[in-house]
Every structure is written in structure tokens, then in C-alpha cells.
């Protein structure tokens, strides 16, 4: 992992010896390279094609796809290469992948979802080998790891608050949920609290299952629920805390012509935006962070770590509540949601001054 430079060989080998050495070398390098204007402050440790591993628990759904694109885009901008290790919902596979990545001597590791118990051992090993780790949405709390999260609790609370306001704290709702997935389990905690908080809101039906065809399954099951409650007004709202649920439910409601039922979801993607913005769409509110942005922040933290900068142990991205009413009439994509929703995205989180230079350098 050496870069070709004007430095002598001794200096170069010294540089890779320890983490502290890297920091010192960074200063040296920047001092030496003042002649090249834009590369001025780029730390040497990141000023080369880095090999980044992204260990993902699953990659189904648009959220995951956009997250992956976000990772790839940000790492590419930095001139590195990211390798996706997809565990297909198999935690032990995820632990294996983490191990493989460590054996590969990658420069940094990103972890998306998963559980601490399965991954702690690997994470500790990575840190011992000097490979920095940034996690997203899991419970790993090893010292030296930066954990970012989109905060499932706020996500759920955000959309549920809107739901409560819209139905005036009283009415019949349908809940779509399935266990076995950390984010859904966390969102459920808030949902239970919500039911306690609003005693006049009654859950009249609950269903849900997660597969590769979640949307269609939800659609079929929602149809059954609609048939069970055929009278207009018998259902006020549906809480679907996962966009695949929300999509299916929305379709079922639309096709049944029961537009009086509103859908409150979680997560947002281009496709979701399109569905929400369709005329008379029952899906009126969703709470989300921008998956690409999450990925960007995670990559930037990792690069900061590789560059030897100080990073926080915990960083929570603030989710936004997106109401269709806040969006304009013409169709909007994820790229420009920020123009309409306050606080959407955080393009400047975890951004060091040298990053612009690094991006510009690799942009050519």
C-alpha cells in the first residue's frame, strides 16, 4: 500500500509502520508538495487508490441500492475502490465476509446493519490490524469505531406524529410489521409507545412478512384487510414502517379505490417519490434520510479515520419527515428533495477541508 512519491524509501517504509507515523508523514508530505497547488493538504494516507470493503447485511430494496450507489460514488470521487460484501440476510455470512475483508488487508471497512454479537470479534481484529471501521445502523460499540445511524426511533416517531395529527389522535389503523430485522424491531418499540400515548388510536389489523417479494405480499394481504373492512371510514390510516410495505399497501388501496385511507411510511427512494407524488396517492407521509447521503457521510468518516483525523464515536443523521403536501406538483427526484424539505440531507457532515481537493484531483 505504498504510493509512488518523491520520498526516499526509508521515509516511505517508516510511514507505513504505525498510525502515529502516518500522521507525522502527512505533515511532511504536505510540506514537501506545496508546489502542487490543489493537492496541497491532502493527507498522504488517502492520496492514493484505497481499497474499501463494505460489509452489508442485505441489499434488497431501493434503499439498499441507493445506499450502494452512494458508497460507490463517494469512494470513486476519492479515487478509491469499494467492494461490496453482501451477506443476503445471513449474519454468519456477514461475519465471514468481515473476516475475508480483513484477510484482504483492505484500507478501511464499512459495515451496514448486522449485530454486535456477530461482528465484534471481527471488528476488534480489524482494529488490531490497523484497519479503521465505520458502521451504519447497528449496535457495535467497540472503542475506536465510528457508528452512524439514521436513528430508527426518530424515523418512526416522525411519521407517527404526523399520523396522529392527521387523524386527530383517534381512529382505526392498520399496522404492517415483521420481526427479525433490527430496524423494524426498533421502529416497533416506538410504535408500541405510540399506541400507549394515543389510547384512542386502535390497531384493527396487523400483517406483514419480509421476502424478496415483500411489496406484492403486502399488497395481497392488504387486499384481504380491505375486504374485511369494506365500509368507507372503517380504516383511517396504515402505518407501514418500511417502504416495501408502503408500496404494496398503497397499490392495494389505490386499486380498491379506497383513497380515504392514508399511508404513513418510512424510507424514501426515487420510486417511492414517484408513487407518493402520483395523483390521489394514499401515501402521504414518509420519514427518511437520504440513503446516498448516509453512504457519503459514512465514507467520509472512514477517510477521515484513515487520514488520522479525530472522528466522533457516534453520529446520528437527522431524519426528515416528508409530506407530499410539501412537495411541488411536478415530479421530484431524490437529488432535489432537499430543495423542498428543510433539513434534508447533510452534504457537509464529516467533510474535511482536503476532501474537495481530493475529489477535484480524482475528478479528472
Amino acid at each position: 500500500d505504498q504510493q509512488p512519491s518523491s520520498q526516499s524509501e526509508e521515509e516511505a517504509s517508516e510511514e507505513t509502520a504505525t498510525e502515529e507515523a502516518t500522521e507525522e508523514a502527512t505533515e511532511e508530505t504536505s510540506a514537501e508538495q506545496t508546489s502542487q497547488a490543489s493537492d496541497a493538504d491532502i493527507p498522504a494516507a488517502v492520496d492514493k487508490p484505497l481499497k474499501i470493503a463494505a460489509i452489508m447485511e442485505f441489499s434488497t430494496g431501493t434503499f439498499a441500492s441507493q445506499y450502494v450507489s452512494g458508497l460507490e460514488a463517494q469512494v470513486a470521487k476519492f479515487g478509491g475502490e469499494v467492494q461490496i460484501y453482501n451477506a443476503n440476510n445471513d449474519l454468519s455470512q456477514m461475519a465471514n465476509h468481515l473476516q475475508t475483508a480483513i484477510n484482504q488487508d483492505v484500507d478501511g471497512i464499512l459495515i451496514d446493519h448486522g449485530r454486535a454479537e456477530a461482528l465484534n470479534q471481527g471488528v476488534e481484529e480489524a482494529l488490531e490490524k490497523g484497519i479503521p471501521v465505520v458502521t451504519f445502523d447497528n449496535d457495535i460499540t467497540v472503542d475506536g469505531v465510528t457508528a452512524i445511524s439514521q436513528d430508527d426511533y426518530s424515523l418512526a416517531w416522525g411519521t407517527l406524529k404526523q399520523l396522529a395529527q392527521d387523524i386527530d389522535g383517534e381512529g382505526n389503523i392498520v399496522y404492517v410489521w415483521a420481526g427479525g430485522f433490527t430496524p423494524l424491531e426498533r421502529r416497533n418499540v416506538i410504535y408500541e409507545a405510540f399506541l400507549e400515548h394515543y389510547p384512542n388510536v386502535e390497531e384493527i389489523a396487523r400483517f406483514g412478512s419480509v421476502s424478496n417479494n415483500t411489496a406484492l405480499d403486502s399488497q395481497n394481504q392488504m387486499e384481504a384487510v380491505l375486504k374485511k373492512y369494506p365500509e368507507e371510514g372503517s380504516i383511517d390510516a396504515v402505518f407501514a414502517p418500511y417502504d416495501e410495505f408502503a408500496k404494496g399497501v398503497t397499490r392495494a388501496i389505490q386499486q380498491a379505490g379506497r383513497d380515504e385511507i392514508k399511508v404513513y411510511g418510512i424510507d424514501l427512494s426515487d420510486e417511492d417519490l414517484q408513487i407518493m407524488q402520483a395523483e390521489n396517492s394514499p401515501w402521504v407521509t414518509t420519514a427518511a434520510t437520504d440513503p446516498a447521503e448516509v453512504a457519503g457521510v459514512q465514507v467520509r468518516f472512514l477517510y477521515q479515520k484513515i487520514a488520522g483525523e479525530e472522528t466522533p464515536s457516534i453520529y446520528a443523521l437527522d431524519p426528515s419527515v416528508v409530506n407530499v403536501s410539501d412537495l411541488p406538483d411536478e415530479s421530484v427526484t431524490m437529488a432535489d428533495v432537499g430543495q423542498h424539505i428543510e433539513g434534508w440531507g447533510s452534504p457537509n457532515a464529516a467533510r474535511s477541508p482536503w476532501m474537495d481537493a481530493l475529489e477535484a484531483k480524482n475528478g479528472q
Binding site: G179, N213, Q219, R251
Partner: protein
Amino acid sequence: MQLKQLNISDYPQQADRKERIVNFFMKFGTLLALGLIIVIFSLTNEQFLTYGNITDILRSISIVTLVAIGVTFSMIVGGFDLSVGSTVSLATVASGALLVWYSQELLVVLLVPLVLGALIGLINAFIVVKIRIPDLIGTLAVMYIINGVHLTYTKGYSIYGNMPMPDGSGTAPGIFIPAFQFIGQGRLFNIPFPVILMVVIVALVHLFLNYTRAGRLFYMTGGNKEAARLSGVPVNRYRTYAYVLSGVFAALAGIVLAARIGTGQVSAGDPLLMDGVAAALIGYSVFGAGKPNVIGTFIGAIIIGILLNGLTMMNVPYYAQDIIKGGILVGALALTYFRKKE
């Protein structure tokens, strides 16, 4: 000789009472179970037997039935096709891509996935019939390959109207045109179109399998490959046909799926494999057929669909639904298969 007295009707009457009861259960056990389920659901929920709900159930099983018909074909020739789920996914993605990325017209959007399905069938046949890799493992390998292909092609993205292109080159030009969506969502004479499609296909396949030469050759091939070969049946050709048909029906299911959800959803077909196989296997027991048959498969799909609908209506959590589903499967099949030692 004595044959002159041969009289078509009196053979069954010889069975004594106990035997007749056993026979009855063997023949009608599965149907009985289905009837019982319907009665229970309609008693516990008055909305269950409404016209709207019945058509909903039928619509919800239309896709799985198409897959299961393909599975039935491969089972008839004594084979097994694990790749149908991935074929559904591929067809779904292919029709989505043709509509959205290439703005193709209906005919192309229907034809290309079907041709792809047939191609996959040919590949399966090549592997299983020609190279003679055992069917379970050969079609499993093909399943992996097709899954990989369609995910690589879409880079993991699902395809929907006017989506931003995955390579960042702006917005896709096409949408899911209404003529296409009609296949999954439309109605003719107030009957959902996929239901009509399903019923017509079930009827045609039933006639085909029972009243045409080709249909019987499928059964012969599966019943005893060696004997069929010795009787001059080109068994390998028929096994090939069966895999091709399996692929084509899976592709058709994929088209209906895409039209129904209005998205070229990646991996959407995976869960259909199990349900399709279950439907076809339940079909064995219907009318005591003891072999794969399309009416049985249809009834199998209905049982699965009704359970999902009725249990959801009864607000049974989905995981508890699995218990009931499994229990009823065992119960229905026990009626059919359990009998005194031969």
C-alpha cells in the same frame, strides 16, 4: 369369450364399505379439506365469500398458479425445475427494462421475456437431459446464474417508470404503459384479467395434457422413461419440451407480476418457487391422481391463496399463519395418503 360381458360400470361397486370410505378420502381428502377451510372462513368472516374477495383471492394466486403449471410440466416428465423463481425475476426485470429503458411496444415487451423463458428452459434441458447432471442440482446452478444475470443487468435496482438511470445518465424515457398494466390490473366483464388468463390457461393445459398425443407422451416419459423410450417416444425431446414449457410459464408469470406491481422488481420471483412447488405437490393428491396434474395444481394454489387471505382477515400474525398453513397441508395430505398397509 367372457370378455363379451365386459361392462364398464360395475367394477367400483365391488369394493366393500370400509374400502369405499378409504377410497373416498383418498380421492376427495384434499377437496374436503379445502371445503372445510372455506366453511370456517366464511363462518368467521362474513366478507369472506363476497364476490370481491373471491376475485381478489383468485387474482392473488394467478401468478403462483402460472409458476406452478410450469413446475407441473417438469414434474410430469419426472424432473424438477428449481430455476423457475429466478426466471420469473428475469422476466419481470426484462419487461420492465423494455418498457422503461427502451420504450418498446407491447408486443416486444411480451415476446422477449417469453423467449428468454424458453431459452432458460433450453439451458436447463441441455444441462439435465444432455449433460445428465441430476435435475435438482443442475437447475439449482441455473437458478444462481439467472439471478446473477438479472441483478448484474439492473445493478440491483428495481425498474419503474421514468426512473433515474442506474448509470446516472438522466431519466429513463419509458413508463409502464397502461396496455401492459392491464395484464396485471385490468378487468374484463368485471373479472380481473389475470384471473381470466389463469383459468383459460389451466383449462387449455388440462385439455392438452389429457386429450392430445403430446400431452400423453409427457406422462409416459415421466411414468417410465425407459419404457417410453422403448415404445418409440423421443423421451429426451419431451423432457426438453417440459423444461422449455416450465421456463415459458415462469416467464409468463413474470410478465403478469411486472404488470401487477408496475415495477421490474429484482428477485421478485424467488418466493414463488416454494409456493409453486407446494401447489404442484398438493395437486398430486387431488382426486387421488397420484401424479402431477394441472387441475390439482390449480386447487393446490387455491388452497394456499385462500389460507393467506382468510388468515389475514382473521388477523392471525403471519408467522402463526405458517403454522396453520403447514398443519392444514399435513392434514389434507394425511387424508389422502394415510391408509392401511397395502
